[in-house]
Amino acid sequence: MTLTATSFDWVRQLVHRESAIVLAPGKEYLVEARLLPIAQKMGLPGVHELVEQVRLRPDLSTNRRIVEALTTNETSWFRDGDPFTALTSTVMPALLAARGPSERLQIWSAACSSGQEPYTIAMLLSDALPGAASRVSITATDLSREMVERTRAGRFSQLEVNRGLPAPMLVRHFTRAGNEWEIAPALRRMVTASECNLAGPLPRLGTFDVVYLRNVLIYFDLRTKQDILRRVRQLMRPDGWLFLGAAETTLGVDDTWERVVVGRSSAYRPVRGA
């Protein structure tokens, strides 16, 4: 174990600052185990050296990787349910009616993490609207390169596939690969993953019909929230749909969105002429 008390303390403060999660004393083993792979990937001998490096040369991307490695993975499939069922029950039929027969539909999963969200969307479309699925492109982005690589790989651990993924969908869309489960190649082809920092200028990712921006605005201050929503809107069709996290809203943040009830959830649509 290379982690010193000072290093541990620095990591604790970082995690608290970035995620509000408190790492109690006694979690040194956890920190050592979870950060060792990051240190090794960066060619460093141990966790102590990793911490020293980021203390001396602060690096947003590595900080995020450290925080992610230490905070419990909350990612589940179909998180909150309704924003996904709304896609097949209401949003997609509306879009299919509004668009021309050969137009591709574009969906953006804007904080895709390890890939559960974009593949949830892919599975749903493939099951509920198989004819339309071939016309849909799903763009998945995340701040973290590691998460983007995970999304590209489409492989999930036994623990991950236990989280909110209906068993019939597991067997329909996944096969075993070693100790993991791998998404079917056809669904993997529907998803294109890339790195993207929402808090900065956005690359021209596309013009999206549907955006899932879930549980990411909460990490930012009001000003940044507004910037992000404005930039996201610029990448959306005027009649597009935006889904936020269950506890999030544009109310009080950006009045150029109109909240609409879709099934048992809400979506936000650009206000015309705003």
Binding site: S76, F78, G81, Q158, L159, N162, R163, A167, V171
Partner: protein, 127 residues
């Protein structure tokens, strides 16, 4: 809400039972499928049965088939909780009539997520 926890491992019965009790369930344990059927025939018809696969006397698959072939027990949701994790095994279980499938090892959150999918999570717990 009532649950049957069926597993030949006492540790597993305690673990699953503890999780379900934490969600507000009244839990009755059984050591194998035949024991579970006896409990049900005795009048305790659960909303949910969490059942292991490999057990003596009557295994989980046989139990699932027995429950699904009895119209009086149509309301019982059957969730297998087992180490059997091969693709073919899960397909077999679902074909026999299991509604859901949890692979061991599992976390309390995994059980919670599955129950939410099934509409079997008491409202107070969804927060």
């Amino acid at each position: 809400m009532r649950a049957l926890v069926i597993d030949d491992s006492r540790a597993m019965r305690r673990i699953v039972g503890g999780i379900l009790e934490g969600f507000g369930y009244e839990v009755v344990p059984a050591g194998h499928g035949r024991e579970a059927l006896d409990v049900m025939e005795g009048g305790f018809v659960p909303d949910l049965a969490c059942v292991d696969w490999n057990m003596p006397v009557m295994d989980g698959l046989q139990y699932v088939s027995a429950v699904r072939s009895n119209p009086a027990w149509r309301s019982v949701t059957l969730m297998m909780v087992t180490t059997e994790s091969e693709h073919g095994q899960i397909v077999k279980a679902l074909a026999a009539g299991a509604h859901e499938y949890v692979i061991k090892p599992f976390t309390a959150d995994a059980i919670r997520d599955k129950l939410a999918l099934l509409g079997l999570l008491p409202e107070e717990v969804t927060a």
